[in-house]
């Protein structure tokens, strides 16, 4: 049964009616649009499949790193402390850490391999 949210979806994305091949009769194009709306909503059910796990593990040790400052482009030395993993994805991990000046930052580590580059190439990036 079509609910109010479905109608809202169709009204909001009614511009997409032009994406559907023009040779289709208007009614058939409308059905395609409704089907796509349904498909999108149904697929959202497994949105937690890639949910990140938080971890209470904390690394008390300090680590020094030479990094590039994005604003100036200069290489600078930073000290990380109290690094704590907060999220993990397929290609990356994210930690929370403190810098020596007291700022709390998110540290995202991404491992790029040949396979990752192939994926980027396929995606057109």
């Amino acid at each position: 049964m079509i609910g109010i949210d479905s109608i809202l979806a169709i009204v909001i994305r009614s511009d997409l009616i032009d994406v559907i091949p023009q040779q289709f009769p208007l009614l058939l194009r409308a059905v395609c649009l409704i089907t796509a709306c349904r498909r999108t909503n149904d697929q959202t059910m497994d949105s937690s499949a890639n949910e990140f796990e938080t971890s209470p593990e904390s690394t008390a040790a300090m680590s020094e790193m030479t990094v590039v400052d994005t604003t100036s482009g200069d290489e600078v030395q930073i000290t990380l402390r109290d690094e704590q993993p907060v999220a993990k994805g397929g290609w990356s991990t994210v930690s929370k850490a403190s810098l020596s000046n007291g700022d709390v930052v998110a540290v995202k580590r991404i491992r790029e391999s040949s396979h990752y580059k192939v994926l980027l190439a396929v995606s057109g990036d």
């Binding site: 809202l8 994406v19 999108t40 059910m45 590039v68 930052v105 057109g124």
Partner: protein
């Protein structure tokens, strides 16, 4: 990383402060990027889960305004996020500050290069991409209906 580096700062986009690139000695093709960014303790997915009956209207207004500001900033610079979902919308529950994050699928849209329609999280992909569109603009990747519905209803899923 290149997009985050090039993008002018915005209060609703997560800021890249520092970065480092380390190549593996035995294999130059493999490298590790380390990005140092703003830390926000929560995200929209967690906020939605905390409000099982739906978010208060005031919060929806605050978040939506900031979300649209962030998207407007991206659109001004021809950047399409392509992986916009509640998990990638970071929120500081103390200040209610919202910032868009995870630009791993983002792209600067140009008129002379086609785009791949199967980029980003399938469940939150814009409808035109489900139809296989390869020519799209910065409006693509804005499954605003799904995001707005999630916020209003307090559900990740809308079924009909």
């Amino acid at each position: 990383m290149e997009i985050l580096r090039a993008l002018p700062p915005s209060e609703n986009i997560v800021q890249l402060r520092h970065y480092s690139v380390e190549h593996e000695p035995e294999d130059e093709d493999n490298r590790q990027l380390t990005l140092f960014m703003d830390y926000l303790p929560s995200n929209l997915q967690h906020i939605i889960q905390e409000h099982a009956t739906g978010l208060p209207l005031s919060l929806i207004q605050v978040y939506t305004q900031q979300l649209l500001r962030g998207l407007n900033h991206l659109a001004k610079h021809n950047v399409v996020h392509r992986d916009l979902l509640p998990r990638n919308i970071l929120i500081d529950p103390n200040t209610q500050c919202l910032r868009l994050a995870d630009f791993g699928c983002a792209k600067v849209i140009t008129t002379d290069s086609p785009n791949h329609p199967t980029v980003g999280t399938y469940q939150y992909r814009a409808l035109e991409l489900l139809f296989g569109a390869t020519v799209y603009n910065t409006k693509a990747g804005i499954p605003f209906k799904v995001l707005a519905h999630s916020k209003i209803s307090g559900r990740q899923v809308s079924s009909f």
